[in-house]
């Protein structure tokens, strides 16, 4: 068993950390009225979370609790009001992020959107094209490569966005409900492909999802957040064999593990 509620076990065992979050608190200020009046929303309330290199962690929690905020903080796109965040892979191009919305550039074709991170890194065109092609295949979007975002369905847009994250083969992959807009079967195929990539490239994945079964299937470890203000209410390994196949979904252990998560979600005061 890898994870625990406190961060001490990691330090004792000196496993390299991909992400180390300590006491992170984030409060949003919402200005109202003309004279500086403001409301505040406490999104994260003292989050501690260490993620080992190479692990696959699912992050679950009620809607609006602060999951996206936490991911943004890990990605360095937002800064906590209190607490510290250390990210090992914060080298250029080593973090990838699938945002909750697709956030494609509307003036670029799908292929050009997927190529963006490589372009920004200065990868030469030929290499780029090959990688883009592969990423598009991974998300089953090869035949829409020349289309523009406005010509895609919702699920296709999300898949383009996923391809954009995968194309860099990042060290740390942050995914915010990446498969929510996909049908069950596509989703399962992508789940499996993601697992394969994770294993092959030794990625560290932090994966937000609302689908308990998906979390159970994918993750080594699941972290459940409470309702806002979010704190960790459950943080434990998923009790399933390390290598999972389509058949895993049918096993009783799978249903049990999923049940544990659902129960944890239910406990966290909304």
């Amino acid at each position: 068993m890898v994870a625990a509620r406190s961060r001490w076990p990691y330090i004792c065992r000196r496993v390299p950390k991909a992400v180390d979050i300590r006491g992170v608190r984030r409060r949003f200020r919402i200005p109202r009225g003309l004279f500086g009046a403001e409301e505040t929303v406490l999104a994260l309330d003292g989050i501690d979370l260490s993620i080992e290199e190479g692990s696959f962690v699912a992050l679950i929690g009620p809607s609006g609790c602060g999951k996206s905020t936490l991911l943004r903080i890990v990605a360095g796109l937002d800064t906590p009001d209190e607490g510290t965040v250390e990210v090992a892979a914060r080298a250029r191009g080593e973090v990838a992020y699938v945002f909750q919305d697709a956030h494609l550039l509307p003036w670029r074709s799908v292929a050009a959107n997927v190529a963006l991170p490589l372009e920004l890194r200065g990868v030469p065109r030929e290499e780029r094209d090959a990688k883009v092609l592969q990423a598009l295949e991974e998300v089953e979007l090869s035949d829409a490569a020349t289309r523009y975002p406005a010509e895609l369905s919702g699920g296709m847009r999300m898949r383009a966005s996923i391809a954009r994250a995968l194309v860099t083969r990042p060290k740390l992959l942050l995914m915010d409900e990446p498969f929510a807009a996909l049908d069950e079967l596509t989703r399962q195929r992508l789940d499996e492909r993601l697992l394969a990539l994770w294993r092959e490239h030794h990625l560290t994945v932090l994966f937000v999802t609302h689908a308990i079964f998906e979390a159970t299937f994918l993750a080594e470890r699941a972290v459940v957040l409470s309702g806002r203000p979010a704190h960790v209410v459950h943080d434990a390994a998923v009790e399933l064999p390390a290598v999972r196949t389509a058949a895993t979904r049918g096993e009783p252990a799978f249903a049990r593990a999923a049940g544990t998560l659902l129960a944890a979600l239910d406990q966290g005061p909304g």
Binding site: R72, A75, G76, L77, R92, G93, V95, A96, Y97, F99, D101, H103, L105, P106, W107, R108, S109, L116, P117, E119, L120, R121, Y148, P149, A150, E151, T168
Partner: protein, 260 residues
């Protein structure tokens, strides 16, 4: 096929509008018997235009070149200034008001400086066209850059984009439609800027521009020729407008995929 059809769709409406407008104008000029020295009927303007065709053509070339140069300078410098202003709120707050000030300066007031710095003639005229037309480019480009969605900025930050990558691949790309709007405003202004520049800093010999022609015909109460010259300046403006529109609809096709 579809191209030729869309060509018709684009050129026919203004043409129809022109015919209608001219007919109404001619009718009104006759019916209301507005004296010709105030508002000559289009037929009189047309015959003046034919009579002075070579002078008008030469003037169009002179003024057209100056306004084109001024316009291009506005496009380049306007966008560059907007980029500078966008770099920080403080810079923007500090300098933007002075861009406004620039716009309110009557060209005549700085004519001697213009002539001193650029010499009389085409350079000073182009400078005038530039001064008059640069502000809308700045304002629209700045607004466009400022309107970039934070989420897209995040994306670029995440992938470690350099400042210049953010600028070219995100900010300018995103602002492109609004920059085009600024350029649309600038093209008419650059023509009027050139004409006003000619009033105070042009050459009145050689190939005098439309501004000189306007002054001459105004002075001599040749209202028909005056309107012909004004018509030429309008045509110049429309020509540049058409070029900007065509270029932007070519370049920006991708931006408007959603709007089809």
């Amino acid at each position: 096929m579809s191209t030729s059809r869309s060509f018709v769709a684009i050129t026919l409406p203004p043409f129809v509008a022109a015919v209608v407008a001219l007919a109404v104008w001619e009718g009104a000029a006759r019916a209301l018997s507005v004296p010709a020295y105030l508002l000559p009927p289009p037929s009189a303007v047309a015959s003046a235009a034919v009579g002075d065709a070579s002078a008008l053509a030469g003037a169009c070339v002179t003024t057209g070149l100056a306004s084109l140069v001024g316009f291009l300078a506005s496009a380049v410098i306007g966008v560059a200034v907007a980029i500078g202003l966008a770099s920080s709120r403080i810079v923007e707050r500090g300098l933007y008001p002075y861009a406004v000030a620039l716009q309110t300066v009557p060209i005549v007031a700085i004519a001697p400086l213009l002539v001193l710095w650029c010499g009389a003639g085409p350079r000073a005229v182009a400078a005038s066209a530039f001064i008059v037309s640069v502000f809308p480019v700045i304002t629209n480009s700045l607004a466009g850059i400022r309107a970039v969605e934070p989420a897209l900025r995040d994306l670029f930050t995440l992938y470690g984009a350099s400042r210049s990558q953010v600028l070219f691949k995100l900010e300018l790309a995103h602002a492109a439609p609004q920059i085009a709007t600024g350029l649309r405003i600038a093209c008419g202004l650059s023509v009027i800027g050139a004409i006003v520049g000619e009033f105070v800093a042009g050459f009145s010999e050689g190939s005098p521009g439309l501004g000189i022609l306007v002054m001459t015909s105004y002075r001599q109460l040749r209202t028909d020729l005056l309107f012909a010259a004004v018509g030429c300046s309008a045509l110049l403006g429309m020509l540049m407008f058409g070029m900007v529109s065509a270029a932007s609809s070519l370049v920006l096709r991708r931006w408007y995929v959603a709007a089809r």
